[in-house]
Symmetry: none
Subunit: 192 residues, 4 copies
Amino acid sequence: MADVASRTGRPRRADVEAAVLDATAALVGDRAYAQVTIDAIAARAVVAKTTIYRRWSSKAELAVDALARTLGDPPVDDRDGATAVRAAVGWLAGRVREPDVRHLLVGLVDEAGRDPELRARLRARIRDPFTQALCERWEVEASVVDLVVDVVLGAVLHRIAMSGDIGDGDVESVVDLAVHALFRGPTVSVEP
Amino acid sequence: MADVASRTGRPRRADVEAAVLDATAALVGDRAYAQVTIDAIAARAVVAKTTIYRRWSSKAELAVDALARTLGDPPVDDRDGATAVRAAVGWLAGRVREPDVRHLLVGLVDEAGRDPELRARLRARIRDPFTQALCERWEVEASVVDLVVDVVLGAVLHRIAMSGDIGDGDVESVVDLAVHALFRGPTVSVEP
Amino acid sequence: MADVASRTGRPRRADVEAAVLDATAALVGDRAYAQVTIDAIAARAVVAKTTIYRRWSSKAELAVDALARTLGDPPVDDRDGATAVRAAVGWLAGRVREPDVRHLLVGLVDEAGRDPELRARLRARIRDPFTQALCERWEVEASVVDLVVDVVLGAVLHRIAMSGDIGDGDVESVVDLAVHALFRGPTVSVEP
Amino acid sequence: MADVASRTGRPRRADVEAAVLDATAALVGDRAYAQVTIDAIAARAVVAKTTIYRRWSSKAELAVDALARTLGDPPVDDRDGATAVRAAVGWLAGRVREPDVRHLLVGLVDEAGRDPELRARLRARIRDPFTQALCERWEVEASVVDLVVDVVLGAVLHRIAMSGDIGDGDVESVVDLAVHALFRGPTVSVEP
DNA sequence: TTCTAATCGAGACGGTACGTCAGGTCTTGTT
DNA sequence: AACAAGACCTGACGTACCGTCTCGATTAGAA
């Protein structure tokens, strides 16, 4: 979406964006993203379908923004480095277990496979902000954090997709695994 | 599918199954799972659509079988325990990077989120055989292997979905991470 | 539409065509053709929209068939030449005054202006059969009959479009005018 | 349209009306009335869509005015009564053969069927002026002229709609037919 | 050999969502 | 006020795919 509004013409309704994104998140909390129709989103947001297509060129773009909004930012944490990082990663893992975040992310991962632009958008809006937030506060390398994020998100999503759910213990395990790699470095091979 | 062929009536063509599964894998190698239509599969396999639906009740079920067939079995390995296990997990990670396996799996993960039966089928045909193969030959607990598989598959898939590709080094990292957990136990440090 | 049904595959439902054409005529009796939606026709005929589009490539083609069916054939007439011809033309004029025939014809005339194929279809299905029926029974030239038909239909339609209705006397006048030309020849100029 | 300009506020641009009507006529010369969008007219007239809707309440009203402007008035003719009347009717027939006049009229006829106000407007702006011009100069009854006009316009339009074009001879025939009725009276022979 | 029952090919069918388009209304800032 | 620009709502469009169905034509084993 354009960052600068054009100077002329009727300005865009300011509340439309939030209404549509919230409607999307709400509907996606009940059923999977593929089951949520643009018409249903429009109806719930009390907005015309054409208004949605004027702002987002596809369902996927809309989903990225809805995900970014629903996901939110990790809570601030003043504790010691390792502890705080672990908390942040754990928060992310917890968010992905929620139905709305999960449904959006899974649906997008499916479509991202066939759309490079969507991938870039997904990185820019979802992963990068989280990674940056961590890097700004503690001394960690961005590329390593990216991998940690992918491991955590991927593992949790895949586990739920395969088993319908994931236990608290398994989430802990995955987070531990990833954070351990983050600090010790990921190349701790089993062989001597 | 029926295990026993009925005694009367025209017998089913024996070569149909392989032709359809191969056609599915071939088409899914080029485009994403959602882009591959049943009609296209039927046309490529030179088979009627009805013939497909007589054997598989839905596109998803067909995809599971196609995935199982395309994925194949891990190569036999006579080496020492830890080394062989790592090789097996590494082989799995390598297979998931291939477009056909990846597209099928991602598409199925999407649908599995809203279909418990599909989840069960997916576990039974894809994850369990692999887990069993490992458990039979080496002393590892099934539930731990399951988690390792989910971590590896999920991480690799998610990485590719986010970045379009995954480097050899990152694959190594993920496999190391997972195998390390497999032997040390995943509960490295739940408490701070 | 294809005259010969293909030998293979599920045969087309025989009653669909009549149901759709009747539904079209019925709906077009109430409102103008442009106001009648394909969805409404499908709903009234208890048929899927796709089924309609399988048989008719556009709303206009459907309308031509609906018009041909609704219009019907001129009643048989054993009387003397001139009298019978006048009766036939009068019958045509009377039919065009009916809302369903009128709405269909006006809507088609509008679209025919931008579609040569539709024009040909319109001639073949509507005007030619009527002209032929007259030529077969009495000694009249086809091209002259065509012109007479165009004069009668055009005049009645235009009159109704301009005034909302046309009186019985005016219909008589138009028919007389046209039939007079038919027998005396149209080139009876006012000048000597 | 308002007859008196209000005293306060910015005065209306005087050249807008002509620009819009000309743009309409020009666009309608190429494609059919239904294919010409208000946005296209606005763009061609270098005028905002709101400016158009401030003057005309609908596309149809605009089209009526555009038609009246494009059609123009019959040329003055000082010859003897019958000859001049025939020339005037012939001029009208000739004008209707032009693409712009024809497209506008056909499109309006379609819409007039469902809109009584449009019918009245069409009569007042198109048919009545022509009829009056004839009545003022020669001794003919208005209602008869109206019928003649409807016959000529209807016949020519319908002929073109059915055949794509109309030959000069056929136009002559139609005009002769109509004018003949005008002078002899239309009730040549209602009874057999 | 004839009968029987299931398979196969071909394609019609119902249903659901898609993304687009045009008419007409409304809301800004500018003249 | 009028105007330019463009957002907005409404309603219909024609398309695509899924999964079901109905035919005629096969193709075996059973009677």
